[in-house]
């Protein structure tokens, strides 16, 4: 893994594009957003022109020394009818725009199932990327074209915002939680990556690029990266070195719940609730172990907050996901001395 200190000004070659009025489109979604945007610009532009034209025409026609007819001023009753008419027209326009924009928004967030998940960690002031096979990059993301890619973004420190203008895609990246972002690039090329949420001194240098490659090129690129250790393998080592295995593994299983096969399963919590053990749950259980205590266990696990990096947490999660349920069969609810946990 490369050094974490390098966030120097000239770190990246500029992704240079000429002056245009619209940014380039790298996905079908970008095209759909632009269509809505252009419709909005046309509607709002027309309304603006109407207001400016009315001011100009009325201002000229009814200037103080003009002889325009000023008799028969309209009544308050007429005013109300005109206002209601304007209100009705604007309401119809606005509701149409609202419906269009909202349905597009839902499509942006609820995407198709993804071919692969890439982990992205924001950190003052760089983007760290982990590919499913263990390949790592900084400030650059290589992805294949025409594949639905899922990004799981999180932050090591403050709030950042993961922004790919060419994909019209942005998510705030919050410490302590995972956000999923999907996209399908349909055009090979190099596109910008910005941090869009102010995050401290070198916020403006927290930039990078996303490289969209043809499938074959992408496979070549992957092989050129050499054999990386799979995240689950690195995770297994971290599981040992951070001392997780002392309590969570082995036959004793009394102090701590076994983690074999826990991923994706419903976990009974102290207090009676249950929770699906997903990535967010596992993340919380490492940095805030008191948040969701498994039924039947004492909250004795210390927090790893501040002692473990977000990248390492992701590797440990990859390791936990890889564990088969049969490896260490220890069910805390079978222990007669503990509470009444329900499976």
């Amino acid at each position: 893994m490369s050094s974490e200190t390098s966030a120097l000004p000239d770190y990246l070659p500029e992704v240079s594009k000429g002056l245009t009025l619209m940014p380039e489109q790298a996905s079908a979604m970008a095209g759909r957003i632009d269509t809505l945007y252009i419709a909005l610009v046309v509607i709002c532009g027309l309304l603006t022109v109407v207001v400016f034209a009315l001011i100009a025409v009325l201002g000229y026609r009814y200037r103080a020394n003009s002889r325009a007819n000023r008799e028969s001023q309209s009544s308050e009753h007429t005013h109300r009818r005109v206002e209601l008419g304007v209100l009705a027209i604007m309401l119809v326009i606005f509701m149409g725009l609202f419906g269009w924009a909202s349905s597009l928004y839902l499509d942006m967030f609820r995407g198709p199932s993804a071919a692969m998940t890439i982990n992205v960690i924001g950190k003052q002031w760089m983007w760290k990327v982990q590919h499913p096979d263990g390949t790592r990059e900084i400030n650059t993301i290589h992805v294949p074209v025409d594949e639905t890619i899922n990004l799981r973004v999180t932050s090591q420190d403050v709030i950042h915002s993961f922004y790919l203008p060419a994909f019209r895609l942005k998510r705030d990246v919050l410490p302590g939680s995972y956000r999923e972002v999907w996209f399908t690039a349909d055009n090979p090329g190099v596109y910008r990556l910005f941090c869009a949420e102010y995050c401290g001194s070198y916020h403006a240098q927290m930039r990078g690029k996303i490289v969209v490659m043809e499938q074959a090129d992408y496979q070549q690129w992957l092989t050129r990266q050499g054999e990386s250790e799979a995240p689950a393998v690195s995770g297994a080592q971290l599981f040992q070195s951070y001392g997780c295995s002392g309590c969570h593994m082995g036959k004793t299983g009394i102090q701590a719940p076994s983690l074999a096969g826990v991923f994706g399963r419903a976990v009974p919590l102290a207090g009676g609730a249950t929770m699906i053990a997903d990535e967010a749950y596992l993340h919380d259980s490492i940095v805030q172990p008191q948040k969701h205590v498994v039924a039947g266990f004492d909250p004795i696990m210390p927090s790893y907050s501040g002692q473990i990096s977000e990248g390492e947490i992701l590797q440990i999660i990859a390791y936990i996901k890889s564990l088969e349920p049969l490896d260490w069969k220890t069910n805390p609810s079978q222990n007669p001395t503990q509470g009444e946990a329900q499976p």
Binding site: P9, V15, S16, K17, G18, L19, T20, M22, L36, Y37, C44, L47, T48, V51, F52, I55, L58, G59, Y62, R63, A64, R70, E71, Q73, E76, H79, E83, M90, L91, F94, F98, W100, A101, L104, Y105, L106, M108, F109, D157, V158, I159, S161, P165, R168, R171, D172, L174, P175, R179, R192, F194, A196, E197, Y198, G200, S201, H203, A204, V287, Q290
Partner: protein, 537 residues
């Protein structure tokens, strides 16, 4: 002709009631307190403006070469904090509102004159304290103080700055209370609610927001201090807190605060357009309903600042829906101002040019707000220059233009003097042109994807940035000119007389400058507001 020999110059007026420093610093006269505020906010405005100018100078070239990244971050933080809390929020209410509301309702002063003076002291001391913290301590969080950056990663001057903003909040609350009570209890005989000028309605609605929303800001700033000093996890996830909670609480205040910053401007513009069209405002009742519904709906749209922040997508859609609704009353108001011109008798004085600029710029600001409310678009342009341009169209194109229009409109009332007609029109036009040149290119920059708060940027954004910086130069001229000719008028301006614009409000019934207690006799109101007749010459 010197004013001394002008028969229209009153022999006794509030400005001649003592010239010592203590006659100003210990005054309870709402008119003198308005001047105290005017002096304070003008100083803050030019301080914040200087920061803006340095920001625009830095952005002329793509690399960060004029100032360091940290200095740049401190500059935009200073600009935002000063302009929002020490200029925009007090601007019209504390100066023009303070001066005019008692006169417009036919009262001798505000309901609580000493509280009014206290508000100014709280404001000024809180302002200086914050300034010392922000400049001395190098606060670099932006005006939004987002956690966990502000609580755990930024330097500790944030505590002092937050404490300063907390203090200034009380000034808003007290001013708001004063206006509410005055409007309810001190209206002259015959001045029913629906005879009130829209300026009073607008400030009344603003006051309600100040009283209801400011305590939320105070609480959230206290929570920041608690988290930093005591390490109790409220917003920082490392301590078990939730960073989004801060954004919810912050915008619960700061979105209504946007309406604190625009409603008074709407009030000013209604007065000016009616006066210089010689016509009653089109749809007076509709205007009142719009003002009040903006104040109410303004409280339920805060989530539109957080469309990509991680709130539930369904919450996002609801907030988008309410945002479209809150735009409706603004649309009605814009239509009504324009319709007021119809069959009017229009003169293009400097205040009128400002007022019409307001209508145009507010229209662009409001409609780009519709683009932002369209939630799918916001995902792309959130935290880019598109947003920066949009809110400057409202805050500067709207409120600052309205404020300057109001200042020009009531300057003869406040000082008893007229200013240069030519130069004032030049300044008003410079503002309109400079403003558009500064901020229109930023819409394009934003859609192209340039994020806000960037100290350096890719080269292909340069052309638009240079245009914007040039515009800022023109805009600066538009702001500096009034400083000169208004000061000049204080000494050399001809006497204005009680009602130079032949305007209708109660404030024009008395001398200019007004007597110490505003009216020689309390007026009795027999007609509705804006009883202008466009058919008369």
């Amino acid at each position: 002709m010197s004013v001394a020999t002008d028969p229209r110059w009153p022999r006794e007026h509030y400005l001649s009631e003592g010239f010592r420093l203590r006659d100003w610093l210990l005054t309870t006269d709402h008119k003198r307190i308005a001047w105290l505020y005017l002096a304070s906010i003008t100083a803050f405005f030019f301080l914040g403006g200087t920061a803006a100018l340095l920001i625009r100078l830095e952005l002329i070239t793509p690399p960060g070469d004029l100032v360091s990244a940290d200095t740049y971050n401190q500059l935009f933080s200073l600009h935002g904090i000063v302009m929002v809390w020490f200029f925009l929020i007090p601007s019209i209410p504390a100066t023009l509102g303070n001066f005019l509301i008692p006169m417009m309702v036919g009262a001798r002063d505000l309901a609580f004159p000493r509280l009014n003076l206290l508000s100014w002291y709280i404001y000024t001391l809180g302002g200086l304290f914050t300034l010392a913290a922000v400049i001395g301590g190098g606060v670099d969080t932006g005006w939004t103080f987002y956690t966990p950056y502000s609580t755990m990663f930024s330097n500790s001057a944030v505590i002092a700055a937050a404490a300063g903003v907390f203090i200034v909040g009380f000034s808003s609350i007290l001013t708001g209370l004063n206006f509410i009570v005055t409007t309810h209890k001190m209206r002259a005989p015959g001045l029913s609610w629906f005879r009130l000028p829209l300026f009073v309605w607008a400030n009344y609605a603003t006051s309600l927001i100040m009283v209801l929303a400011t305590p939320v800001l105070s609480s959230v700033l206290m929570l920041i201090v608690v988290e930093r000093l005591l390490g109790i996890g409220i917003f920082d996830p490392a301590l078990g807190g939730d960073p989004l909670l801060f954004q919810h609480l912050f915008w619960f205040y700061s979105h209504p605060a946007v309406y604190i910053m625009i409603l008074p401007g709407m009030g000013v513009v209604s007065e000016i357009i009616a006066c210089f069209s010689r016509k009653p405002v089109f749809g007076y009742h509709g205007m009142v309903i719009s003002i009040m519904s903006i104040a109410v709906f303004g409280f339920i749209v805060w989530g539109h600042h957080m469309f990509v922040a991680g709130q539930s997508i369904y919450a996002g859609i609801m907030f988008s829906f309410f945002t479209f609704l809150v735009a409706l009353p603004s649309a009605i108001k814009t239509f009504n101002w324009t319709a007021t011109l119809y069959k009017g008798r229009i003169t293009f004085t400097a205040p009128m040019i400002y007022a019409l600029s307001f209508v145009g710029l507010f229209t662009i600001g409001g409609l780009t707000g519709i683009i932002l409310a369209s939630i799918a678009i916001d995902v792309h342009v959130h935290d880019t220059y598109f947003v920066t341009a949009h809110f400057h169209y409202i805050m500067v194109g709207g409120m600052v233009t309205g404020y300057l229009g109001g200042l020009h409109f009531w300057w003869p009332k406040m000082t008893g003097r007229m200013y240069s007609e030519l130069w004032s029109k030049v300044a008003a036009l410079a503002l309109f042109i400079g403003f558009n040149l500064t901020f229109f290119p930023q819409f394009i920059l934003g859609y192209l994807g340039m994020p806000r708060r960037y100290h350096e940027y890719p080269v292909d954004f340069q052309v638009l940035n240079v245009m914007s910086s040039l515009g800022a130069g023109v805009l600066a001229i538009g702001y500096l000119l009034p400083l000169f000719y208004l000061f000049w008028s204080l000494r050399f301006g001809p006497a204005a007389g009680g009602n130079p614009w032949r305007a209708k409000g109660l404030e024009w019934w008395t001398d200019s400058p007004p007597t110490k207690h505003n009216f020689h006799r309390i007026p009795r109101v027999t007609e509705s507001a804006y009883a202008y007749d466009p058919t008369a010459e």
